[in-house]
Symmetry: C2
Subunit: 412 residues, 2 copies
């Protein structure tokens, strides 16, 4: 039994995490949110109260923290009495926050792989460069650290494990397809922090095929997928976190990630990339000012959180899994459809933030009641997926399956 | 008789000016070049010596100067004994350099209208905001100041005056068409300082039509022009310096400027503009750094001077002038074709810089021998065009005319 949650970060995903934690504060206890900017944390808490999201009366406090400083994070953990940290800050702070959790014996979870601001797309598997190097220390300290527990990575990993447990004797391929068929109405915007968003697409695209890492360029390999609700959608082979852990558990399967992009997105991205404006390396202006181009691009683009009020349409994220069951080849699509406007009505965020922010709260509930409080570091596919999927069905992210037997809710 | 030339600026156009001055140093006397960065001036002079451009043995010295500081420029004028200043620095320095010339009684010429770095596309006529406010002082001091004596503005203004003097009783329209049919082989580059280049296209497009200023957006009005050598070329109504002086001399004529753009240029420009990356107003990054987006875009784009060695193809710039002669409607095209590779072979610059840099040297020769040393401020169309065109015919920029009588060199 663990109680009291500290949320790190105050962006669009943190907003969802805050609302969902509040809706379950009878089981999670005291709530805290901390980021570099206190006012952003206070705004999140104000939104929670405005929507009357707190299930029972309780504490929800805002804090300023430099999450790159693990001593500062550890001090905040001790001060707040948090036993669970949900890290939805920038990917740059994972290692310092994890360190603080190891030091203080606190359960940790995040939704993306740690990144070094100065590097892009390091050697695969990416988890091996940072998080997995702390496996032994987590185990020694008995610290539960759940890596990548957003939607993708996160729910899509749990689905792969579900397929392994329930639907296949052998899995031959896992294709994760992420489609946002929504519309934000702006000329151009990213749904996540533009800096993180673009960094995903500027380096080598790693996929796991035929038992080895395959390398492609972004937008080099495209395919049209036919999905429920959103229909035919073009998606491109993209480097993504979950490929780097699923390939370790399913080394004999092909593991690929596909992200949907419209022609307009690709055009804008291509122009910016070819001009060098997505570079993480500083350039010097004629006046001698050193500027990281990507940070300026981030500054001129709309704040992802600002898209929420007018966002319409739906997302569809699914695992297309092929394999063999009882000697016969089979294919299943395990998927979720989320609606931008419904997400905004419930928690004040758009659908992309919603799909990323609900799963870590479900995981926190499973850590709180002991189900997932495993006392070591784990990627999501190493954990029993059923209680997690069952919780998500009730928390706004139902899992559906489409296979030879039809299209139906997955429940146990 | 005036002698000794001080060139302000050390970019691609200054490189051409330096070579052409050197080729005529028997008539121009001592040569000096000054810019913020001494090394750039020294590189220009090294190029002049490497190509043995000095006609007779003589002085060519490099100086560092902050051209925004008119006292510093005036001190340099006195120190060098220059009687002619050719200002081909950034458009931001026009007024401070002109001030220094008025103070010291030195002839002044530039190739573009003064700009305030903080403003874009001010109220027309643009000359009225800055240069023309110094008319009285130039006259009182007897200072010759020739405004906009590059190719366009510059040669195209002289052609309009030639049409007035020789080909028409009444001019009804002047369409200046600027086509670069060359290829630099880069993904994207501008042929001039990107900052100045983009600033031309981000504001209102002013043209003079039916006796009044008409306003359009960039790329709103396009038209295909059929020109000698370069053939059919799509060009767009563009705001440009010469429209702001020619409309004062020819108020009853329509005066329009058309610049050729390929679809790729327009796409890149549109993406950058819509994202706010061409803004001259600073934005603040998440880290608190204030950055002017346009200055970063300039920093990531190729240095225009770097395009020269591999630039191929030709430019065609012309005046399409319609009017009435002896009671009959008539149309003439007065034009020049320049070749990028030939320009590079002669002076180490590409064709765009060549067309802009040769005319002010022709003008300097006309000031030196007294022909154009008028002792007041003048736009080019106020000066006798024939000696200027005659000089240019011999300096690498021959003027041709195409009309009902055929296509031929213009000579007197």
């Amino acid at each position: 039994m663990k109680r009291n949650v500290l949320i790190i970060g105050a962006g669009g995903v943190a907003q969802v995490v805050a609302h969902k934690c509040a809706q379950a504060n009878d089981r999670l206890g005291d709530l805290h949110i901390a980021s570099r900017t206190l006012a952003k944390c206070e705004a999140v808490i104000a939104s929670v109260h405005e929507k009357k999201s707190m299930k029972v009366q309780g504490r929800f406090d805002a804090h300023a923290v430099n999450a790159m400083d693990s001593a500062e994070v550890a001090a905040l953990i001790r001060k707040t009495g948090a036993q669970i940290v949900i890290n939805v800050g920038s990917s740059f702070v994972n290692m310092s926050v994890l360190e603080a959790c190891i030091e203080t014996g606190t359960a940790y979870m995040d939704t993306a792989i740690h990144e070094d601001p100065k590097k892009i797309c390091e050697t695969p598997p990416w988890y091996g460069n940072y998080e997995w190097q702390r496996r032994d220390r987590c185990k020694a300290a008995g610290v539960t650290a759940i890596l990548g527990i957003g939607f993708d990575p996160g729910v899509v990993n749990a689905w792969a494990r579900l397929a392994e447990d329930e639907y296949f004797d052998t899995i031959t391929s896992i294709d994760i397809v992420d489609i946002n068929a929504g519309s934000h109405g702006k000329y151009f915007a990213t749904n996540f922090d533009p800096e993180i968003n673009f960094r995903e697409f500027t380096g080598t695209v790693y996929s796991w095929q035929k038992g080895a890492w395959a390398e492609n360029r972004m937008f080099e390999v495209g395919q049209t997928w036919t999905l429920p609700v959103v229909g035919d959608q073009k998606a491109y082979l993209t480097g993504h976190d979950e490929v780097h852990s699923l390939s370790a558990r399913y080394p004999h399967a092909d593991v690929r990630f596909w992200m949907g992009f419209g022609d307009h997105y690709i055009n804008v991205f291509t122009v910016l990339k070819n001009l060098g404006l997505l570079s993480e390396k500083p350039v010097k202006t004629a006046e001698g000012l050193e500027v990281v181009p990507l940070k300026l691009v981030k500054a001129v683009l709309p704040d992802p959180a600002s898209l929420a009020p007018t966002y319409t349409g739906k997302t569809c994220i699914g695992d297309v899994i092929r394999g063999v069951k009882d000697g016969k080849e089979a294919e299943v699509l395990i998927y979720n459809v989320a609606d931008h406007a419904e997400a905004y009505a419930e928690v004040g965020s758009q659908g992309i933030s919603y799909t990323a922010g609900v799963p870590p709260v479900a995981a926190a509930l499973l850590v709180a009641d002991g189900t997932w409080d495993v006392g070591h570091m784990a990627n999501v596919e190493e954990l029993d997926p059923k209680p997690f999927i069952t919780l998500l069905n009730d928390m706004g992210l139902p899992t559906r399956i489409k296979d030879a037997a039809g299209d139906r809710l997955v429940s146990f």
